[in-house]
């Protein structure tokens, strides 16, 4: 294992993200859950927006998949990616099931039409989705480093905190049942970075992509938290992406 070229980078990215995952913009929602003040309406908002983001991964991964070609990476890398696509689809189903089971929407079609489940362009959610989709133009190793060793670790952090705080067993199960798959995605990312990121330019690209993805994900989490708690959203998307302004 010591001879793996990207081992130090993987450790660095994981350590940074774990540190950041201790306190995410979703802290207010976790505190409300802990205090037992998260209303049914607020839970609906939370699951509705998470479902909207999760279903956009079909679009993101569709773009990423188009960038994979024959013999560019060993089959193991593509197997891990396909596994991740299935898991993400499962999580989308979990959220939709919850919307239906709780009676927040009557049908799948209603979920798409409801304001909490609608995808809108002018949102931090859309900004994050397009940010990830744009990684389709980078090598698979770089985008996996960006997502799996960035936002995925932040997500695992707030999700563990929220599941622990929730007194609602059903909703707790929705989040807690995702832990194994989320940890698996982090491990997939670690393995891919350890094994395939070798050149200094790739290392720098991974650092930049991971920081960019986390920044955009945090912006989405701020928007989500404000929406759930009924606060005015203060998180404006920058007019010019950070990397373009440099």
């Amino acid at each position: 294992m010591a001879g793996l070229p990207g081992k130090a980078l993987a450790q660095e990215l994981i350590a940074q993200s774990r540190e950041e995952s201790r306190r995410t913009p979703l802290e207010g929602v976790i505190q409300a859950a802990k205090a037992g003040t998260l209303s049914d309406e607020q839970r609906f908002r939370l699951i509705g927006r998470l479902w909207t983001l999760e279903r956009m991964f079909y679009y993101i991964y569709g773009g990423w998949g188009q960038g994979l070609e024959v013999n560019d990476f060993p089959p193991a890398v593509k197997y891990l990616f396909s596994r991740q696509i299935v898991d993400e689809s499962t999580h989308e189903m979990l959220y939709l099931d919850t919307l239906l089971r709780r009676g927040w929407v009557a049908t799948q079609k209603n979920a798409f039409r409801h304001p909490y489940g609608t995808f809108t362009m002018d949102s931090a959610l859309a900004y994050y989705v397009f940010s990830l989709r744009n990684f389709a133009t980078y090598a698979h190793t770089i985008r996996i480093a960006a997502l799996n060793l960035g936002p995925k670790i932040l997500e695992l952090g707030w999700m563990e905190g929220l599941a622990e705080a929730l007194v609602d067993d059903d909703l707790q199960g929705v989040f807690a049942s995702q832990f194994v798959e989320n940890r698996s995605h982090v491990n997939m990312g670690r393995r891919i970075v350890e094994e395939f990121v070798e050149k200094p330019v790739e290392t720098e690209l991974c650092r930049w992509a991971c920081a960019t993805a986390k920044g955009d994900y945090r912006r989405f989490l701020r928007e989500l938290s404000d929406f759930v708690l009924g606060r005015e959203t203060s998180a404006e998307a920058p007019a010019v992406p950070a990397h373009a302004a440099e």
Binding site: T90, M93, L94, D97, D170, G173, E181
Partner: protein, 91 residues
């Protein structure tokens, strides 16, 4: 009335039953809230034998069974799809 359940020894988790059930707005097929996220059928919501729409889409023989008798309904036995009144609900 008989009810349906998934035989997890045979189910491949392809999720076709889930897709069909959602499209018909019956919503009886769901993802279990456990780490394996297996597909299950809610007998309270499932309208079998009134609806048998998921059965012909299931690719794994024997993976959906009648809970009471254990009889396999994949592929659908003739008495199901020839049964008078059996229909796919209107969408």
């Amino acid at each position: 009335m008989p009810t349906l359940k998934v035989d997890h020894e045979r189910c491949t988790e392809c999720r076709m039953c889930y897709v069909v059930c959602r499209e018909l707005d019956i919503n009886a097929v769901y993802v279990a809230l456990e780490p394996l996220h297996r597909i299950e059928i809610d007998p309270e919501t499932c309208t079998y034998p009134g609806c048998t729409a998921c059965l012909p889409y299931c690719p794994a023989d024997g993976s959906i069974v009648e809970a009471e008798s254990g009889r396999s309904v994949v592929p659908p036995p003739p008495d199901l799809w020839r049964r008078k009144g059996a229909r796919v609900p209107d969408v």
